[in-house]
Symmetry: D2
Amino acid sequence: MSTESNSKPTVAFIGLGIMGAPMAANLVKAGFDVVGYNRSEAAVQALVAQGGRGAGSTAEAVRDADIVITMLPDSPDVEQVITSVLEHSHPGQLVIDMSTIRPDVSRSIAAAAAKVGVRVLDAPVSGGEAGAIEGNLSIMVGGAEADFEAARPVFEAVGSTIVHVGPHGAGQTVKAANQLIVAGNIQLLAEAVVFLESAGVDLERGLRVLGGGLAGSTVLNRKSEAMRTRNFAPGFRLALHHKDMGIVTAAAREAGVVIPLGSAVAQLIGALVARGDGQLDHSALLKLTEELSGRTTD
Amino acid sequence: MSTESNSKPTVAFIGLGIMGAPMAANLVKAGFDVVGYNRSEAAVQALVAQGGRGAGSTAEAVRDADIVITMLPDSPDVEQVITSVLEHSHPGQLVIDMSTIRPDVSRSIAAAAAKVGVRVLDAPVSGGEAGAIEGNLSIMVGGAEADFEAARPVFEAVGSTIVHVGPHGAGQTVKAANQLIVAGNIQLLAEAVVFLESAGVDLERGLRVLGGGLAGSTVLNRKSEAMRTRNFAPGFRLALHHKDMGIVTAAAREAGVVIPLGSAVAQLIGALVARGDGQLDHSALLKLTEELSGRTTD
Amino acid sequence: MSTESNSKPTVAFIGLGIMGAPMAANLVKAGFDVVGYNRSEAAVQALVAQGGRGAGSTAEAVRDADIVITMLPDSPDVEQVITSVLEHSHPGQLVIDMSTIRPDVSRSIAAAAAKVGVRVLDAPVSGGEAGAIEGNLSIMVGGAEADFEAARPVFEAVGSTIVHVGPHGAGQTVKAANQLIVAGNIQLLAEAVVFLESAGVDLERGLRVLGGGLAGSTVLNRKSEAMRTRNFAPGFRLALHHKDMGIVTAAAREAGVVIPLGSAVAQLIGALVARGDGQLDHSALLKLTEELSGRTTD
Amino acid sequence: MSTESNSKPTVAFIGLGIMGAPMAANLVKAGFDVVGYNRSEAAVQALVAQGGRGAGSTAEAVRDADIVITMLPDSPDVEQVITSVLEHSHPGQLVIDMSTIRPDVSRSIAAAAAKVGVRVLDAPVSGGEAGAIEGNLSIMVGGAEADFEAARPVFEAVGSTIVHVGPHGAGQTVKAANQLIVAGNIQLLAEAVVFLESAGVDLERGLRVLGGGLAGSTVLNRKSEAMRTRNFAPGFRLALHHKDMGIVTAAAREAGVVIPLGSAVAQLIGALVARGDGQLDHSALLKLTEELSGRTTD
């Protein structure tokens, strides 16, 4: 027993929310010694019930950990928690931030960590709550190759597609690019759907032809049904995609990269959130496109 | 022998260009009696060499045909040829326009044909020259169900995905929606590529992750390599996509459908054509996006 | 007396609508011998009551005229009427089309007229119904210098700013540019207004400062009050501006000119018309911008 | 003499750059006791040569001042300096930030200052270097009415249009709205110019007509000549307008306000800066629009 616990590193897991909780649970299942911390005590107790250990503070969680994982809502949360992590960390620790945040913040964190001898990876994920529960997330990792290899067992416990994509910040950049393409593809599909319906096209057949050619996409495969039936239950909420488009536009601006379509769809998502539709699935871009085209039925 | 030739209808094929020539040849191979007409005599002779018959005019081609196919560059060409076809047609003939034109022109043609007892289908294709040669085009068909069924043997000689999508004009609408989505998906991929490269992301790996998730698309699968290597040999030329975006924006405007992304990417394609890049593949949207981001190497 | 009436040319005026009727009346007041024709008889009678003469057809109106003016809703109307005018015209006549239409149609008309020895000017106006009644329209004229000079007395009877801006089509191009700038300026003001109100800015004071600096414009001077009070009674109706933006986008596309802002505001105007707001003043772009920002009160 | 100098308050002026130096000099001329501080010693000496006093640090400048003015490049500079100002300030002091920064930063500063009993105004200016030298800047002021009145003598020494537009942050919001409208108006003019030239319109005459109607604007009056002659010497540099558009888009996003045209023109300005044209006047939006339309001559 003690042999086995010695053989697996201790992982501090900070942020046991919708994504973090099942990820931490999967680490426990994979045999890691997981010490969880979350602002709300209930989430910590849930982890303990699944075989993890609980900590009363970031400091306590980090103290004896080999690896520290953060899974938090947004850039300011990560900045604040990592500051605390670095205060209590020891040289040689590996910190993996799996939150979706701005690439420049990931780079700043890496620079700050390097000063105290701590190694850092940015490793945002895609695949949503379902992927977190099933342990088959896609993980895009930025940082040093050796650190990526050191973290691989952890990644394999929570994900199935695991790719080292470049230096610090590169993981966040790929995640941002993902959100850019997804938002755009959804909006293009929405424009096509309204256009097809306006001409009396049989939507199911029309989308079938489109899906079989160069217009085919995972968005078309997965979101057409929601659009056809106007069922906008999430899925991935517009409020989160809005946050992510903020990252995309800020990062592109910082890099001097012009993104005309990304910028335009960010405005449309912003409109939906401003109007109070932030809790709908991002396929609800159809709703706005329909209203702009005077085609609402309600 | 005569039995066999009697068993297959006679097809007049008007427009033996890059797409039309191999389509007509495939009809010959499938056993149809094909009478071809083209403005340039050489194209007619090429069809005759492959077993078809030649006609010296639209009138001559149409006279004894059961089915008339038109495959022409743009709306005005189709309007002009169909006017001539209808002058020389006889009631009961089936006219199939396989050109990519404005949906409202298809509807006008159907109305004009109905007055003289001629049945019409709009049946634009996708799949490019390769699909035309191999006989595996996608065909999206608008018109009456019975006429679609009557035309099915002809469609099966030139295509593999054959879908009746709605009333007159619906085929063109689906084709336009296809061009809208494809243009947008290419531009989004271009924005992502420039963004990824600006952050030092390993592009091959980054696109691999993106392709495996919700950002995946046929465009990403087929156009990433061209973008990575900046090889913009066509493929599908920007000049043609520009023509098609003119159809998309005009048809959407006529239908009162708002297409913010479609409209924005139409401007970008227009810019490339205006600058003299019309002969490049549409993946050259990357070239413009790079230049706008100050990232050109030449 | 008869000498004086002889000294003034006979003007055929075709199209006695909201703009045409007061313009024809001003020509009568200026002493011209005006022969009016309109599809609806009532408009012709109204002109006769003001001292003009009536005609029962385009042919009759054109027969003895020195100058023919057309003032019609849109490009197809002008094409049709001018065809009839040219059939009944005689060499040396001067045809002035004062409608707002596509520049390429103006150029086609000029080419067709030249073949039968008829001179043509395109001379669209701005200034609205009020300008037409008061005879102080702005007139932007395309065509030959000599023809412009020959038409000057006519222009001076209906307008106050009269400028020869270039060859055939140039008048329409300037009018289109006018509509592009006006639409954009209104939308920018609308964005500013929603933005200012969202921050609790005193709108009257804020706009006063803006108007005094580089952000000042005639749109700001004339449309701020309508925006502050949400009084969108026309003025210039969105349905007409929508028609004009169709001209702008088509003409820019034909010329290979990229208009990113023009294209974007055309979509917004299209949305308002699609939703049924076509009868509101174009300052109602504020209404859409507010709704997109979740700030509607009703 | 001493009486008069006693009657005027002491003003600490932090940030003696292109704008700050002449503003401080104008305060000296108006009889204020001005203590200047700037990171570079030379700027301080220049102020002393004009009758001001120099300080060696923010702390020293602030110590005995009645009023503290900051005139700094960007939000982070202001945040840093104000933190230092508040450390050394005394209750009752009035701090006026005349920099152009994000409205939310102005609001945060006001909140922080209130905690230590210091009153704050945000008072950004427009009018450029010329306006700063001539003392006729436009000043848009956010904060409490009483503080605005207390600051009025200072404002009157540097500006001619002085308006209290609302609560803390309102000054910055109006300045941001100004930059939004100006950027958009310039781009619309650029689109119109390229469009007019493409049709052979006499540009001087065409713009004259446009300027006389609803399309008229201060931008058209002041920037047409630069556009006609392609003289893009600043004036107001694109790099600065790019910074300001960052403020506009961030503030609009924070407020949930959708700005489709503002967002689009921000992309175009970003492109110019990315390509290395940041040192040109903002009228160089014409340059990009021309290139996108394939109309460059070099």
